[in-house]
């Protein structure tokens, strides 16, 4: 039950068109959920700028296209993640304006006007093999409207490489640190800065990395407080968390 319907109902009560009892029943059994939905949709509308997102992994190209078409009808901006080249080709045959980044496996459509960038996020990686996950995070963050500073290949195999970037990092509000193998980068970065660090373990590695478990556990056990961890390879989730942090921070200013 959206706002308009609720107004109608109440107006009808006021006008004596429906009885109090009937209205009560309507409000109590069936529509309370709609009210919730309205309330929550109201919340959602605050999130303006957050595009609808499709997770394409496990969907056929055709299924992905179908969802994309549906969303593109009602939204200015549509973001698809884990998009294979095959799926991207199919969607772009219908939506030639959609942008596709093969490394990040991200495809997005943004028909809206150019918005000013809000907030600044640094995305760091330990090694070059963490790039796909980092780019998923970086591109998502950019689509969501933030400026992104990419600081790649600064892992602990040569930790001195991070130092020249400390000043750049200092200008960001959130850091996303992406690392596989021993997953030490987020903890190191958290120890060198006073920024909130979102840690993304990747499945990069082999053997006793157990598909990213080693990096995940390392990040959860970071001896520097100030690190929040997302799922293995979840660059998208990290970007959304960064977006929400920035969104609420700027909201606070008003």
């Amino acid at each position: 039950m959206d706002n308009r319907k609720l107004q109608e109902l109440l107006q009808n009560v006021r006008d004596g068109k429906i009885s109090v009892k009937e209205a009560e029943k309507t409000l109590k059994y069936l529509p309370y959920a709609d009210i919730n939905t309205a309330k929550i949709d109201h919340h959602r509308s605050i999130r303006r700028g957050m595009p609808e997102v499709i997770f394409c992994q496990g969907k056929t190209p055709e299924q992905s296209l179908a969802v994309f078409q549906e969303l593109a009808k009602h939204n200015e901006c549509v973001l698809a993640t884990r998009v294979s080249q095959e799926t991207a080709s199919l969607i772009r045959s219908q939506f030639p304006d959609a942008c596709y980044c093969q490394e990040a496996k991200i495809l997005f459509l943004s028909t809206g006007e150019n918005r000013p960038r809000t907030g600044k996020i640094a995305v760091l990686t330990a090694g070059t093999s963490d790039l796909p996950v980092a780019e998923e995070a970086a591109l998502t963050a950019e689509v969501l409207g933030s400026e992104v500073v990419r600081i790649y290949d600064v892992g602990v195999a040569g930790i001195h490489r991070i130092f020249p970037y400390l000043e750049d990092i200092d200008k960001c509000q959130v850091l996303i640190a992406v690392a596989g193998m021993e997953g030490a980068l987020p903890g190191v970065v958290a120890g060198l800065t006073d920024k909130p660090v979102i840690a993304v373990p990747t499945s990069t590695g082999y053997g006793a990395n157990f598909g990213g478990l080693a990096a995940l556990l390392a990040m959860l056990n970071s001896c520097s407080p100030g690190v929040g961890v997302v799922n293995i390879d979840n660059g998208f989730g990290a970007a959304v968390l960064a977006y929400l942090i920035i969104k609420n921070s700027f909201q606070g200013e008003a």
Copy 2:
């Protein structure tokens, strides 16, 4: 090597008091680390208001007291976590002004003036047995200078209990959601709001909860993006992450 020393060194080079070669050697071998330290301490000084912290678990009361005494010499504010009642009694016999919360196992000393509260954090728990961890988070956040809204016992065993608090939640910048057992609360909350959610799994439960692993995995797999997870029972770490988020957000305003 702090700023003053570096200036002196360079002035001496300028003044011809030490040779370029000597200065080069000084800068290259020994002091570069000090420069880093200076740089980093400069960063640290920005964190003003962040008290020194003692993790008392695994320390004897005497060891804890010794560290506390050392820190109290140089700091207005000292925070100790995982403080047993026995340790608390010993420290308070020396520092009668120190406050101790038995449930949170937190003891802190704040000899400074009353600072205005910065930022607003909601701390939510799934059940009453998550309280010790939640209070560790809440008290830490308060000592760090934020306002805390406590919303306890709103777990998914009766998820409707969360709804009356949605408006309160809406006024916060960060949420800390604490839950043991199936660990579903952070994901549910992330689905209902547009706030960044810091998820704290607790070891509450038995059997196949495997000491908090079940809750940890659930939180990492949250289907709502926007959730960052800290270690099991790590209320302190969650509060520091929330503090850094708020700190950088207000910093951004200036």
Copy 3:
């Protein structure tokens, strides 16, 4: 040794055709198992309506067809699960009346009369990617003779979506809640209703979901009592458990 044979044996004892000693030996060593079998088959016959089931995963299309043909000789109703499209095509080339649902990977043949539906089961899913498992459960339950209410995509990423269905749920005797990722749906549902909840974790997700382990552990640790868990992706098993619950409940009425 079926009933008829046992009667014959005893009649022969009565008629003096075989000695007590011989009968004793027959009953004691060899046939006692047959008696068990008879007894148990007697139990089985009570289960009338339960079709024979073939688990096709790991079988070649030819092997599956062979078993299907064998069962179809002696049974009105045959149910095959985890049926690939290739296997389905082969079987349907021989049994054109067999129905195949590709999403559920279920194929069944029901040559019997239309039986009235017994009992009402709600099948809920957290997300759209849980549908194959949910449909395996739903179709199995329908083949077993129950009415099924499908309530899909009501997971905790937007938990308010469950509320409009609470009245529908209220009319069912058993709920089957299917969820991957953090696996929170069954616990949430168990907290909102007074129905027995059969929880089915799915392998939906990636990274630290560890093939469904995260959802499985979450469900086992549900803080709402009243949840029974089956194996990961085991929609069939959930439907059989629901069937047995309903079967024994209606049996109780007589």
Copy 4:
């Protein structure tokens, strides 16, 4: 917002005492949750007969007593689980009518009239060391109002021992099968009967049983469909699930 308040609000709209806009705001922001609560409490009231339950593990005797006293004010029947002898003594010093079973670690108070038993549940154990968990289940089921048939020590170390009980089992509507070590009993029982089986793994055993994990996995992998598994040592949860199955079955009869 309970029914009366909702009526008042609507009556006021009708009477023109408050405007449609005000009513809309009231309904939309604050009270929708109360409506939910009312709705859900309505559900809860259906659960009449389900006593309030206290999980005493991890609570001090004094804390347990306090909760018990609070609940006993408003409820005819109070059930406490995982009650140590020390806690039991303290509570019984205040509530001499409370019954305590040391083996099951259950204490309950039932000041109401004698209700007729509803439904029949068999509780089976593999070995004698599974008794505490089995008794937690059995006593909970009895307090919840069902008749319980105890069939103990019939595990697979001598599986022939189960056969004499098959006829007793046949008269029950639900089976609760409790087993540690290899956890085979529930699957064996499910293969011999047509009853729904609630499987309770216990932490009984040592070494590679990993605190009940071996039994848990075995039960989840039961080759007989029709088995729902609860958490390790969770006799209480099994009894509640059985209770809900029976409750909905008898409800269905009306």
Copy 5:
């Protein structure tokens, strides 16, 4: 239903005292289980010499004594394992003839005549800390009637120590190899002899031995075929398996 009862029943059928129908019902529903039991007890009687066994871990001294007293009424030989010194003292106060080995935590009573030893078993350990488990195996094997050769402290930290014992080993029919830590002994021994090897992992070690898991996995992955593994610390189980191997081997000779 034992043999005598079955004879009576059949005789009554023969004599016309009961009808075929009645006999059929008796045989089909109630007594088939007794027949099984009889059959199986017949099997059990073959196991003459196998004493009744009590697993005392998790039992109070009083509970252990009660079981011991019950078994001692009907058996010449009673064996108790995992017996604490306290429990041993209590039982021996009632059974002064019972023998107790503190290291093996075994207590046994053997009032029968001296039987000749049957079969020869070598019990080997990797280190001295594996002794308690090895002695549980060795003593059990001796109580069960076999000769035991103890070859201790011959683990792979100095694998050459095993060589002088190869001739002794050659005279045994079964080897029990007990090892913690890396658990390599059973595989090494299996590579040097042509004896069946029963491997017993122990929980000896720390850190990444994970309570015996490391040794268990090593033994299961032995590159020498011919190794059967029992549970961690299960010296008793290894001895029973060795006993059954020898028992069936000598049985074969007759």
Copy 6:
């Protein structure tokens, strides 16, 4: 250093052809290992009848053929396990007399005379999907010279099916029980007989069977003592263990 060489050396010492010092050095540094080898090969020769074995998994057809050809030069009997159909075709193109069993993935060549069968082994399976592993065990046992009784599809989903086979089982010296999923068969069989049971977990199943881990743990935790467990899917290893048991048992008779 084989026997002949050792004799020569000693004879040379006796004859004064080489000095005591030289002989000492020869014996001490270089040849001691050869002595071991001789000793051990002497042991090996006792194993007459044990063919050389090739584990083909992970080898290309060409590599497998090469090893097979090498072994076939010096051995009457060659056994290859985990042989793909492609590898089998290649080998049989060179060795037309080699027998291949596709289900067991076993290929063997036996050019020797027909030996009399020694010992009797029962191979049992829980379900039909355990057949490949069971056949690997059964065929290996037959190639090694034992009589094998196959008792398939008697798992705990219908445990009464085992009873008719108890008399057959009684005539065997060793049982090999093969089961996936909950892995309960070996424990059940061990409880019904007095035979040594070799348990083979299989990777049959899905979800929380974790590739056979569930069955493996169940078997290790068998509450019936007398069960020795081999690696997951290791039918070959079980057969070799059975062979060694029988070999040493018959050896004992002489």
Copy 7:
């Protein structure tokens, strides 16, 4: 900032070309990292002889070639590991002098003069299936400039086979012991020699080896001290560790 640049800066300060303040800023913010880099590169230059290394797993042949070309511009020696045959063919089409070992999946280019070998390393394997990992270690060690003694197929399935090699082993400075399955070889070797042992678990095996976990745990739990373990299948890492041990040992001589 390398040495030359630092000298320039300081000279400019001395010459009054830039102010102290400017120099301070330059040294403090931007260049301190360069100083570190210089320092560390200075360290790196000590490592002369250590070629640049490319880990090709997860890279396309084209990506691998691109990195190879880049490195070959500036380095005499380039080493690529985990190189598929396809990648090797592509690179060798451009670099015909590059050597490729298919078993070790290593490709290297060494345009420099022939250096004398430094240090002696023994590489041992338990079985033939460990060869690829062993050859990765052996070839890497040879490319890094050491002499390698290959001692293959001396695992614990026939541990006597190691003895003839003890004298060869005695002449090496470091041992690399490669083993899958039960992973016992490194511990056995450590018990027989006084050499540092680098243990490399391999993923060789199946079932409960869990991709090399069994061997890894066994090696970590070696009862012989003196064993350092690297990641599963990490032959390259073992060789680098051996190289560093030897490098620092010879450095010590100067």
Copy 8:
């Protein structure tokens, strides 16, 4: 059979006192192992300076004392690890010259002359709670005769703290890096130096560190090659490995 006995035997053959056949038998069956032992003991004697070691964990004070007394009879130097204060007191009451370090839980007796230190080892820790394990390593290394440089509390929570020590580290031959929690220190150090790094994970931490597993996995997955890992908390093993590296390095110089 030691050298003298072997000489006697051969002399007797030469002198015709025993026949070649007898000598052959003696050499072949019994004594070959003694020859091995001699050979190996010869190896052991090379290890001069390596004291006998007692692992006291799991031993009673009395048992520890007994072993200590036995070893002290025949050795100049005895080292005991994991020594509780109670055990230390008991041993020191008999050996007043024994030194005890409570933090390292190490007790040693060194009655020999002062040997010159051989080799230089740096022991680094991430945090102060890693000290007990680090001191176990450091003291063991000192007792074994090396110089130890302690560099404590330089973990990645403030990684810049390591830089001032790089020159000290440069003078060592081996590094032992001790860390709990995320276990990142060894990888960071390996990236900054060209020294072999022995990584020691500690059980320091809580929650998802799983008793040191997180640190262990991180170290095994170090992206810097050149790291060898020992068991969790195994400071002693790390020191022995370092000792063997140094011992073989200096041996190489001669």
